[in-house]
Amino acid sequence: MKQASEDNMQRGPNLDRRDLMKYALYLLGSSAVATTLASCAPGAGAETYFSASRRAVLDDMADLMIPETDTPGARTVGVADYVDRMVAKWASKETRDELDQVLDEFRDAAREGNGESYLELEASQRLAHLKTFDATRVAGASRSLAPSPYTTLKELLLTAYYLSEIGATQELRYEAVPGPFRGDIPLSEVGRAWAV
């Protein structure tokens, strides 16, 4: 039984590898799949961290950073919500304070530049503001390899998007069980970057 399944794994490139994987796990006697999946959602029922006003800024920033194009953007994926819940579960007080501060600085810098509160600006003004803020902060961080509060925030946003199912499989490319490694193929065969 086991041996037959191993043979399939090697000789069945036409099968959907993810289904094959679940089948293999079933054959190997794993009942852990369903329970682990349920417990691993970062989300359902989990707490959020940011205050309502900062969350509003984060929502907007996420969608400006990764907008909907011919694939879904941050809003559809729920990036800001994911980051908010992740900060509640993962971040230390020090990291939370830094993230609060960088969101406040982002909001306040908009007022200084435009005289209006951030969320009252036009979408194009908000995007221009993010572009300037990002360029300044990334340049400031590039001298050191250590993360800065802004690069931590940007990393959280990009990670939440590109490692989501939509980000990994629609925007980029991902295969759960690629099969034997092929080391040197034309990029055109894949077309886009692998998410991992």
Binding site: E6, Q10, G29, S30, A32, L158, T159, E165
Partner: protein, 561 residues
Amino acid sequence: MDFDVIVVGSGMTGGWAAKELTEQGFKVLVLERGRRLEHAADYTDHLQPWELENRGKVPEDECAEHYAVQSTLYAFDSATKHYWVKDSEHPYSTPEDRPFMWYRGYHLGGRSIMWGRQSYRLSDIDFEANKRDGHGADWPIRYADLAPWYDRVERFIGVAGTREGMPQLPDGQFQRPLEVTAIEKDFQSKIARQFPGRRLFPARVAHLTEPTEEQLELGRGACQSRSVCARGCSFGAYFSSLSGTLPAAERTGNLTIVTDAIVERVIYDPTTRRAKSVQVIDANTKEKRTYEARVVFMCASAIATTQILLNSGSEAFPNGLANRSDQVGRNLMDHFGGLYAGFSTNHMDRYYHGRRPSGGYIPRYRNVTESGEGFVRGFGFQTMTMRSNWTNGVRQPGVGAELKEGLRQPGPWRVIMSGFGEMLPYSNNRVTLHASRRDQWGMPIVHIDCVHGENERKIKECMEKDALEMLGAAGYGGQTVPFGTSAPGDKIHEMGTARMGREPMTSVLNAHNHAHDIDNLYITDGASMASSGCQNPSLTYMALTARAAHHAGDRLRAGTL
């Protein structure tokens, strides 16, 4: 007596001792201090990136409170943390200004679940090194003694690799190598052209590419290029105790495994002058009990084996069991080295399919084909190549549709070199028992005092110079990347604290990993190493174990044990 042999530990070497001894018909008891871990069922390799808790990040407060050492490791994340000990529950001490990183996991299979899978033979350049330059004690064996056992181990575990015919890195029994990338071919040819004597070829890794009948029978299958190895592999595509040796031992009907059994001491009988029994503490109830057998194999890993020996002192052995030489605990070694990275925009129309769980290898050339520049021994490099992806967006300016569009395509090739230097055996690099601190089971904790010396400093300097020179000559730029802690222990290759040697007064074990002082005690884990080489050591530990298990088997059958 219920058992012929007690094997202490179920990891890389414990699994091999169990397999080789049960297959010879002996009744074997494996004692594992950690919990039972079920192959596949307890792994997390089925989780997709979006299913990982916190996208893989372990909460920062939890890292600080419970995983101060373990969380500094590359393989530590929310899907693997259950394989690593809580430092808060398993303390050890070091001098304040001399950190030592001790990475470990307490569960059935030990670190064979989380190992890097790189599998290289030592050569006579390594076995003769101590004798040649006078550091440490001469190995009591040479390559020819171990070669058939390397063959045996490689055939069973399955190693993907290429035959290269290099004297410093003997070829073995290989399955088809994993394919190389476009930039790796580029780097290979540039190194061959510009640095005669240096060579880059596919890493030799314990991943199945052409599973044998024996491997298929054990339920193992070919590598699927998922590269989630650190979470365990439900395909059994890389070798571990749980995918290979323990199932092989189990099917003989001669194996008993007891988990949650912390070995406190090996009890010596002064009348018979033999190890009489093994005393364990139940990890959960803290009750003590003993097991008896004709032979004891210590396979608990270098530092843990040392802790047990030192804690097994008696009137006959006031300094610890099998320690008349005073070498138990001394000569602690690890590997060391930096990380060096370059990038290239050549071959931007080439890519790969799958996530290769390995890379390339450049074996030692210093003090082989090129001089040592003021140091003895040498170093090798593991290399990794990949094209950068969306993670590049974090530190590059850019937002919005433009950012998204830019990150859709893979970025430049990255070429990463990771150095592995040989560390000399120094008698003052030492594991001892702490004078007063005990763990929650009442065991004295270990105190580890280990520093790199002048030879290591010179090797590291040369390693960096050479890496940057090779990356530069290939046109990849090249810089040193701060990575890891660079403290001893960092490479997780700790070894040497019960060394093999020719003289009972200067070594703990003879040529068969058999204690000079005690007739029925074998030590076959990393503690037995007389020198470290610069190759990843697990393959050698396994070969030494298999060889010792047959030595013990012969003596058991002859009635001399």
